[in-house]
Symmetry: C4
Subunit: 171 residues, 4 copies
Amino acid sequence: MTKTRLEAFSDGMFAIILTVLVLELQVPHLENNSFAAFSAGLIQIAPKFFAFLFSFFIIAIFWINHHAILHHIQKVDTKLLWLNIGLLFFSCLFPFITAFVGDYILNPFVVALYPLNMALASVTINALWKYAYVDTDLAPNNLTAEEKQARMKRDRMALVMNLASVALAFV
Amino acid sequence: MTKTRLEAFSDGMFAIILTVLVLELQVPHLENNSFAAFSAGLIQIAPKFFAFLFSFFIIAIFWINHHAILHHIQKVDTKLLWLNIGLLFFSCLFPFITAFVGDYILNPFVVALYPLNMALASVTINALWKYAYVDTDLAPNNLTAEEKQARMKRDRMALVMNLASVALAFV
Amino acid sequence: MTKTRLEAFSDGMFAIILTVLVLELQVPHLENNSFAAFSAGLIQIAPKFFAFLFSFFIIAIFWINHHAILHHIQKVDTKLLWLNIGLLFFSCLFPFITAFVGDYILNPFVVALYPLNMALASVTINALWKYAYVDTDLAPNNLTAEEKQARMKRDRMALVMNLASVALAFV
Amino acid sequence: MTKTRLEAFSDGMFAIILTVLVLELQVPHLENNSFAAFSAGLIQIAPKFFAFLFSFFIIAIFWINHHAILHHIQKVDTKLLWLNIGLLFFSCLFPFITAFVGDYILNPFVVALYPLNMALASVTINALWKYAYVDTDLAPNNLTAEEKQARMKRDRMALVMNLASVALAFV
């Protein structure tokens, strides 16, 4: 398994996940051809549309981070491969969870699934970074021990805030 | 982020968007095995089919333009990356809007969404070109200041005509 | 537009079209957990399944032919690009037509759409070959005039048989 | 047909198959915004979710094996090409069979389709390995005759266990 292959495969999946998101947008039923019916239709799909918009940019950010992390990786081993598959697994869940939240935007338990899945994807991508940059020499780099500690601390902080927003869903 | 990666990712998304378009074509219900029932079925899906045909070629043109623009780009920075993601976002909306127009071809407000989305995609791809070819040296080129002005003027004209066709939807 | 790019884009679309085919296979409704209900379910989806199986191999053959043709192509011009997009357009229609035939296997007009679409896709891929190998020097080759004539004759024969099978649908 | 092309095409299909799996996960209907309704919804989709989770990792493993096998392959001939298309065909069926099992988890005949399809995919990938590594010199390697025999024996054992689990579905 070369890095190029892993990147191409991950790129393919991120591209498909982004496109599949829009499949969840259903054409609304319009009563007639008036502007009132059109507006009502747009309002009806508004929660789904904003869930789509939000997820599109969240997944784009994961994709950008994924690339930044893989940039310095020289070798791929089995554990890195499975961490990557784990990240793709949680990324794959976004279209389903986005549709779920779009349908039940007022149910706090459903809404909480979203930051929960983001947290799981973040834990995986952070573990992937730590494995390649800190635990092994898969990604040769010039980062000092302090810089590595700082990044891991920042990742933990982001995770805490993410999990805090799970709680926010219930407010 | 290298240019090759960005191109491959964008190619992947354009390929998926083109294929997803056809998923909106639903098999019509036919009353019986007669030619009359078959014709009625074809007439029923005709608006969707022509919306699909039209979108297929519109997105193909965006894809060709995207390649022409990226051809001279040597470096990718964060702003270019996000302009590209913006273009992919509006491109992603085409299958949904195509299906919406196919269902409500007589509703002018729905029909107007189509040129509106095209205008948004055009603004984004023009901004991407201007950023790489005029504002920065990401795409080294031999274009004179006049040629650059001429292209930007042409892009603005195309945009005005595009927005004018939004008005046309109401005639 | 380089050949590599065109190939990658076409490969992407063929891969998606093959996978999208299976999305048309709907899980049948089973009355209970008996073998009789299971058999009835399988019989119910059998036409769709065989339409899927058939289309999978037809599209695979188009993909293999596409590669064989592109193998010697050195340059890509605008006309070749649009012939290729035309081929991808008809290829994109296969999942829809496969589902249509799977639903109305007894309607000869619906069934005739299948060889009709194959004929249109064949005309396009043959035109692409002729344009690159005979009309222009986009694909430098050692074929003699006789060999080129023989291939074009063979392509025409295949097309006639294809169109004859449109008539067969009505027998 | 070069190996690179075949790999890219197969990677594309595996990536799409993994993502298409999640499309089978339907948003459940929730009665109200209570935790009880949310739990009931999760329980309702639990069989589909675990079928999705299981299939995701099964297909990931096929993808990893596919890469390991193609790693030493130097040339691609027509038979190898069709063995590969056969493998992609059975891989394509996983999303459909996963949805079928998710809907009828209590029907042993439906459940038995899953290991049956796994067995067919395994037979194909093993035949692909044997063809490239043993029968021909498409994949030059240093494996001794004993090592090749050992692998083929292991593959047969795995297949027997796989088919045994078809029987297990009826227990």
